[in-house]
Symmetry: C2
Subunit: 122 residues, 2 copies
DNA sequence: GTTATTGTGTCGAGGTCTTGATACAAAACC
DNA sequence: GGTTTTGTATCAAGACCTCGACACAATAAC
């Protein structure tokens, strides 16, 4: 498999492991990395991203604890399930959107209109 | 003014200053903290959040560099302008949500229902 | 059984961040 | 002018993270 598209910005105040973890979650939730897909080895991804292997291992381990990934000594790391906090990625995305909309003080109607505008705009 | 609603989670891999900064951006973009509004003093917000003053100062300084805030020795820190990167945060959030929904193959109706469910869930 | 693959664990070094405290300076207020 | 308010700067200590390297262990392949 080709290396997933992950980018790490070391100056943005977000820990490298967290960035890797977050972007893996997106790739998995979005179907780019489907269940059953094999991730690059820790050493490979670390080399690709210019990180230490332990840092990538941290990200993988976070997702393993969540049940998103499974790891094996020979077969490496494989996508096991969609993120458990988001068994339904659409619902998860909506939850995040609604959280943002709420913090912006938007009403339900305003949030719905914003979504409609983007579906129509396409 | 009352203290803005800011929460800091020290274990999520995102630096405290970054969390403060991000949440201030949301409050400002959403109009909760309108242009001209005065923010709590660095010491006050630090005490409220259980952080060191220097950490809050870092967040304020980041936003000052971006022109979002202006600071003065006596009048404190004031909202100067909306974040230039997000002129319309609700629309941006909706765009992101729709992009994810689309990648999941969701129809407009499904996306709207997902949003409604989270607003009703409260 | 041997070899290769891959994750886990450990190590010491270095760097960064955060803390709490303090001092100073600028500005506003009285 | 004196006082108060508030941001900036500095400090040392502590905590934590990341690095690169290495060793070990588990597993699969041959």
């Amino acid at each position: 498999m080709t290396a997933p598209r992950i980018v790490v910005d070391v100056e943005n105040g977000v820990a490298p492991w967290r960035q890797v973890r977050d972007q893996l979650v997106r790739l998995i939730s979005g179907g780019v990395l489907p269940v059953g897909a094999r991730l690059p080895t820790i050493r490979q991804l670390a080399a690709d991203l210019g990180l230490a292997a332990g840092t990538v291992a941290r990200a993988y381990r976070e997702l393993e604890v969540e049940g998103v990934l499974t790891t094996g000594r020979r077969q490496g790391t494989v996508v096991a399930a969609l993120p458990s906090h988001a068994p339904d990625p659409l619902s998860a995305a909506a939850a995040e959107f609604v959280a943002v909309a709420r913090s912006l003080g938007a009403s339900e109607g305003e949030a719905l209109n914003a979504v409609r505008a983007h579906y129509l705009g396409e």
